[in-house]
């Protein structure tokens, strides 16, 4: 089956990004496909490239990127939710004169339409809330 994930919790205040990743790994092991992971609300904080966890902590953002590359998963963050929280790509950095971009490699900034499309195209959609 094709499964779409909606992840709404921040990396530290919530277990959502970690639980969703463990779900996604198990889904792939069972022969399913993670069609798209869409990060929304405080979930978008995961896409901040400047995040530098200490060496003795697992880096769930890096783990998500590795997983997505190995299994061809779209890692997407909502443009409006990201912009108001300060996660921006080069185009936005220029447009809003922010002096720098911080979108993590492997993530793509997209509109909410991509999430709705994900729901329409996936056989199942699972929400991982904050």
């Amino acid at each position: 089956m094709r499964i779409t994930l909606l992840i709404q919790g921040a990396p530290y205040a919530s277990d959502a990004p970690r639980s969703a990743l463990r779900f996604a790994r198990a889904a792939v092991r069972s022969g399913h496909r993670i069609h798209r992971a869409f990060f929304y609300n405080d979930g978008v904080y995961i896409a901040n490239a400047f995040a530098t966890p200490p060496r003795d902590e697992t880096d769930v953002a890096a783990q998500w990127v590795d997983f997505a590359r190995s299994h061809d998963v779209d890692l997407t963050v909502c443009v409006a939710a990201s912009l108001r929280r300060g996660i921006v790509d080069d185009g936005e950095a220029e447009q809003y004169e922010l002096g720098g971009a911080n979108l993590r490699d492997g993530f793509e900034i997209v509109g909410l339409g991509q999430m709705v499309e994900g729901m329409l195209e996936g056989d199942r959609t699972v929400t991982f809330g904050a």
């Binding site: 709404q8 929304y40 709705v116 729901m119 329409l120 959609t125």
Partner: protein, 116 residues
């Protein structure tokens, strides 16, 4: 086309407003979309809210924009309203009051349930 039920269980505020944005986009995509307010979610419907007093955008006002985007099936759980002493005749958003059995039916009628 896959239908979605937005299950709203959180009180009003910035995150609630972001979920409304998602509902509006479902409307734009002409996805069959319903909204069910349950538990603390019914607080979004309470009359007499003035979010400007705390420098917030008005959640109820945003909710009222949904029908213009063809998201016009809004439901509020009777028990959740009663527990919070919210008067169904004085709600800021027009929603149909539903009992427990209708909640169960709404959850089962959707292809996708998205929670806030």
């Amino acid at each position: 086309m896959r239908s979605v039920l937005y299950l709203v269980r959180k009180p009003p505020g910035p995150l609630a407003n972001e979920m409304i944005d998602m509902m509006l986009v479902s409307g734009v995509f002409e996805q069959p979309a319903r909204v069910l307010f349950l538990d603390d979610g019914v607080r979004q419907l309470a009359g007499g809210q003035d979010a400007s007093l705390v420098d917030r955008k008005d959640t109820a006002k945003a909710m009222n924009a949904l029908p213009a985007y063809d998201v016009d099936e809004l439901f509020a759980h009777a028990g959740s309203l009663a527990e919070r002493a919210i008067d169904p005749d004085d709600m800021a958003v027009k929603a149909r009051i539903v009992e427990d059995d209708e909640v169960a039916a709404l959850l089962r009628a959707a292809d996708v349930v998205v929670t806030d």
